[in-house]
């Protein structure tokens, strides 16, 4: 079964990525986690995402398309990266979520590939 772990990061976390004083500590938190995930042989795909303010959001309102700067929706925590992992069940996926270096991780099962 394949699940996606979605790691939500605060403004603080995103700022730490760019701040020379905190960057190393921030990255180290991820390095060990990514290492443990990869060594367990369950990773299908994983990638960090650039900061939310770099996002462009396409939105259709009543059939009319609009593009806006920034993420959807505007909240305190934003998607910072994802991992797609192949594990037997949701319990195991949640166990991995708990090991992540951020405070909020959403877990959802992936749909089967469209034929």
């Amino acid at each position: 079964m394949s699940y996606t772990l979605m790691f939500y990061e605060s403004q603080e976390d995103f700022a730490a990525r760019m701040d020379p004083a905190r960057q190393q500590e921030y990255l180290a938190g991820w390095t060990h986690y990514v290492n443990a995930l990869r060594q367990s042989g369950i990773v299908v795909f994983g990638s960090g995402l650039h900061a939310p303010e770099t996002a462009a959001t396409m939105k259709r309102r009543g059939g009319e398309m609009a593009v806006q700067d920034g993420p959807f929706p505007e909240t305190k925590e934003q998607l910072g990266g994802i991992f797609v992992i192949d594990v037997p069940d949701l319990d195991t996926a949640l166990e991995w979520a708990a090991r992540g270096p951020v405070d909020t991780v959403e877990v959802r099962q992936n749909l089967p590939t469209l034929k």
Binding site: H32, N35, A36, S40, L90, D91, L94, A97, R99
Partner: protein
């Protein structure tokens, strides 16, 4: 005391007794839970008006029983059960008018929750819910499971008990040792076999520790001389005695060997020692007694100022013979490393099949520690990295980071 306070207190102290007593007679756990829930709601409404009854528990049993009879009449599915209920109602009336409390059926409930027909993974959650009244959401968080999934699993297990007529009877004498072992296992799982890792005070698992000790004490009331029951309680108390010493004022994690013994709860350690002594009188060794004995050797540092690693290594040797779990294999490697050197410890670690340790944090934390001592720097970095990546507790991650930085 205010009515709602009495209700809350009664709920905390008597929920399991109420539920067990009604369920043993009525056998439909879900229906009994609903009925008790309704009875508490009724109490919240009635007690402020009529005053707190002399016997709050008897009042609640009567109210819950009434709900069960109503439900049985309404659904007409259990005509045959009505005589049981009515007999029970006479029983409760007699109890309400006498001075003796109603029978404590929680031991039967504990055996039911750990019945061989019930999925081992669901035994602890079921026991926490039925004996202690802990809600599914809290149980789910403690075990890192989706709350709706936990609710569904609990509902399914209760339906299974009803439809398959899983018995509430106490097991036969020859079955007792095995069945008791399942009860002990379920309580220990609630305490958290990885107690040291989930040591953070904010961990929801940590918050089940008190409840587990309560269950251990309860089981002991029913089996005061049973060595393994004494062993489990001693084990949990030894570990619990160190909770306050496991973090410093800034919240930094402190491993057992560096803890200030003055911060251990001495009274809890002494209590644990008493249970371990009672257990040893039976002359029948078991894994919980051995695990408690290992913790007891650690506790001796309080009086002797040192740790007898050789004794610990021997106890692990015995433990592995009875119960070769990953935890005991790693524990033995740690003790052997202290007595005979890091090389011997590493050799034991490396003998464990690697497929079994891919996501076992204590293995990697110990490997990092030993490689570091042996100056195998590259291996130490890799092992610490795995350990950090597998930790769920932030203070442990920080501790391991500091250890790795010293390489």
């Amino acid at each position: 005391m205010e009515a709602h306070q009495v209700i809350e207190q009664t709920a905390r102290n008597a929920y399991g007794r109420l539920l067990s007593y009604l369920a043993v007679n009525w056998r439909d756990l879900q229906a009994v839970e609903d009925a008790i829930g309704d009875a508490f709601v009724a109490a919240l409404e009635a007690w402020p008006k009529i005053g707190i009854p002399d016997k709050p528990e008897a009042w609640l049993v009567t109210a819950a029983r009434r709900r069960l009879i109503d439900r049985a009449r309404r659904t007409r599915v259990s005509e045959s059960a009505l005589p049981t209920l009515i007999a029970m109602s006479e029983d409760t009336q007699r109890l309400a008018s006498s001075n003796t409390g109603f029978p404590d059926e929680r031991l039967r409930m504990m055996f039911l929750c750990t019945h061989p027909a019930i999925d081992p993974a669901m035994r602890t959650p079921l026991m926490l819910q039925t004996v202690l009244g802990i809600d599914a959401a809290r149980i789910a968080s403690a075990f890192i499971v989706k709350p709706s999934t936990m609710s569904q699993r609990l509902t399914r297990v209760k339906a299974k008990i009803r439809t398959e007529r899983i018995t509430f009877e106490l097991p036969d004498a020859e079955e007792i040792p095995n069945r008791l072992d399942s009860v002990l296992e379920a309580i220990y799982a609630a305490y958290g076999s990885g107690w040291d890792e989930s040591a953070s005070t904010v961990s929801p698992h940590r918050r089940l520790a008190e409840e587990s000790i309560y269950l251990g004490r309860l089981l002991l009331q029913f089996n005061p001389r049973e060595p393994e029951v004494n062993g489990l309680l001693a084990l949990m108390l030894q570990c619990e005695a160190r909770v306050g010493a496991r973090h410093d004022e800034e919240g930094n994690y402190i491993p057992l060997s560096q803890q200030d013994c003055a911060r251990w709860e001495q009274s809890m350690i002494l209590e644990a020692e008493r249970y371990l002594h009672i257990a040893s009188q039976a002359g029948k060794i078991g894994r919980f007694q051995l695990m408690a004995a290992i913790q007891s050797v650690h506790a001796q540092r309080l009086w002797t100022g040192q740790t007898e690693w050789e004794a610990i290594a021997q106890l692990y040797e015995g433990l592995i013979r009875i119960s070769p779990t990953l935890g005991s294999l790693v524990g033995r490697a740690a003790a052997v490393a202290e007595v005979y050197g890091s090389e011997c410890g590493i050799a034991l670690l490396e003998a464990i099949p690697s497929s079994e340790v891919v996501s076992y944090q204590p293995y990697w934390a110990l490997a990092g520690h030993l490689y570091k001592r042996m100056q195998r720097k590259e291996d130490a970095h890799l092992a610490y990295s795995r350990a950090i990546g597998l930790s769920t507790d932030i203070s442990i991650r920080q501790f391991l980071n500091r250890q790795a930085a010293e390489i």
